[in-house]
Subunit: 384 residues, 2 copies
């Protein structure tokens, strides 16, 4: 990038069953927290990006709903949608706009209200022919998990350990949807959703909003002494029907590998396990987190279950993953999730993560995976 | 912008009732035409932006549907949605990404298939409370047109002249949905939709796709001798309920004025009428084109009817507007329209517009207006 980009403020609502907040209420809360964190007034925002998969009033309301909730009038507001990678891709577009020199200060805000109505495009819709074959999100990822089990002789116990870890982390996160620890037995005994996934292997449906304020890095020191720098970004899209792709092993996601490669190249990262200190990755299902370890290069193919079992991805391990509790505990308000991850990594890099703090974290990774594993976005954030 | 950005290829399908083409067929056709125009292979594309208001398989299919239709695998693809300004805003985001130095060559593609199913968000949807008051698109713009008539003593004859001009231009455009000239009498006698708009005052519902290929300007000469340069861009969002805004005259759209001001500032344009040679503006309704003249600074407030009547915005006038026939003749496949406008302006700047050619055009303007006049995007393109 021509200009370096800094994150000078982050904000996040409590994630959960937010029946007492409208879509606009949550947007306003997240933006206000991010502005307060940056120590700036809203009129300093020169442009905004809204990350939302399902605008509350339908497509034709997205950008104005952000303008109206924040009274952010007369400014550019763009809606980005990219499946479950909506939040990170909106961040990516905002960052490139700042790096281009067109804007000095930008807001990226993800918000989703999913609990009080059915959401188009998430499950069971007629336009997706494969949905009628049972290929909803759990079905799609379950197929890949079964293939992974077959290839690498893993089983449901490895999945349960992801849920146990992420709920243990999530219990420390006041923004998380679920804040209760669970046992391996509870995970294994939970009602089945799609073999091998039981209820506790699946992230919940959640309301929430999260925001970040970006600025040209050369200006960041005028706002705060500890800005976080964007070190790398990558987005990759593969086929929307990975299970029909004869070249796919279907035991991981090429989109993640390619997005990570692009981000690592930009940041000059050659050994992710050694160089990255903390990561928020897309655990839409427990198995997805295992696939992510391998796709992101944290461990070799097939080694994710042992990487997890050895505690290396737990708080206290050498690369703590999902210190927030991940999607599994925090919940997954689609467009907000990527920004919620940025919020967590920024807290970690500023040593403000409280009981979840990773000591001396200086480089953090954010990863979203979208669609049937077809879209991945990776961001690398570092201490300045 | 740090780096200048060039347009090295454009492509556009025939707009119309494209029942014989799928969403993906149209995307592939527009992209292929743009690649051929640029003289490059698809593998040179480093990143893509998809402009679509209504992804054909629902939200959860947008970016992968572009990847799958073009076999553009492993690359970044972002969907941008911003009401009827979707196409130009996607172009804007792609241009800033190229200007940031992250990508050298990018594709922007707009596509919409609207004719064979009802489209969510366009009319009559329950989540928009004001829709139940009749405030569909024709209703919203009709209210403003009536206010304009009241303020400036104009009437339906001025609107009819817009339709006559744009159909005269559109008859010269082989890509247009409608290619028949109409008379002022026919426009005035057409069935009423929402007073003062009759059927011929309204743009039609249309299928189509259009694409542009952008690159870092310093590379453009390696592709073609006549690249077009992006000179300025602007996007502005105002309230989603302009008719409740006591500060609004409701005789034009502040979003357009603000977006134009940003683009003019970037391009160093101080006298738009004198400096701009040709413009494609958002004539979703005939009256909208009149408002655009004033909001874009082509003529003073209230003077649009005389500006039009004097032939100044016709082919042969001093600032021909909508030489393509505009939305009124070309049709309005939402996300594709902005790119279709870019296609027309690029042809004009390269002196390839045939019978629609504006002599010696060196600076062209593209303008989209979205939502209830709340979102506007302006691009300025110039000969290199």
């Amino acid at each position: 990038m021509r200009d370096q980009v800094a994150v000078i403020g982050v904000g996040c609502t409590r994630f959960g069953d937010n029946f007492d907040q409208s879509y606009e209420d949550m947007a306003l809360e997240a933006a206000s927290l991010a502005l307060a964190d940056a120590g700036i007034e809203a009129d300093r925002i020169e442009a905004a990006w809204l990350a939302t998969f399902s605008p509350y009033g339908g497509n034709g309301k997205a950008s104005v709903s952000l303008a109206d909730s924040l009274r952010l009038y007369g400014k550019p507001v763009t809606r980005v949608e990219n499946f479950c990678a909506t939040g990170t891709d909106a961040f990516r577009n905002a960052a490139m706009a700042v790096a281009s020199g067109v804007y000095d200060i930008a807001l990226v805000l993800g918000v989703e209200k999913l609990k009080d109505r059915p959401v188009r495009g998430l499950a069971g819709e007629g336009d997706h022919p494969y949905r009628s074959d049972g290929l909803t999100a759990p079905g799609i990822f379950a197929l890949a998990a079964n293939r992974y089990f077959h290839e690498f002789h893993a089983g449901r116990a490895a999945l349960a350990q992801v849920a146990v870890k992420n709920h243990r982390h999530g219990a420390l996160n006041p923004k998380a949807h679920f804040r209760a620890e669970v046992t391996e037995r509870q995970v294994l005994d939970a009602p089945l959703v799609a073999w091998p996934f039981g209820l506790l292997d699946c992230c919940p449906t959640t309301d929430g909003a999260a925001a970040a304020i970006l600025c040209r890095a050369s200006l960041a020191s005028s706002f705060r002494s500890d800005p976080v720098l964007l070190r790398g970004l990558g987005l990759a899209v593969t086929s929307g029907r990975p299970w029909y792709d004869a070249a796919s092993s279907y035991t991981g996601f090429e989109a993640t590998s390619l997005a990570a490669r692009a981000a690592y190249r930009m940041a000059g990262v050659s050994d992710p396990l050694d160089e990255i200190d903390v990561a928020e990755v897309h655990d839409c299902f427990t198995w997805t987190e295992l696939a992510n370890y391998e796709d992101l290069g944290f461990c070799p193919r097939g080694h994710a279950p042992s990487f997890l079992a050895e505690g290396r991805s737990s708080l206290g391990g050498d690369l703590p993953v999902n210190t927030s509790g991940g999607l599994i505990s925090s919940g997954h308000p689609i467009g907000a999730s990527g920004l919620r991850m940025v919020h967590e990594i920024v807290l970690q890099l500023r040593a403000q993560a409280g009981p979840r703090q990773v000591p001396n974290a200086s480089l953090g990774l954010v990863h979203n995976l979208g669609g049937p594993g077809s879209v991945a976005c990776v961001l690398l954030l570092g201490r300045s």
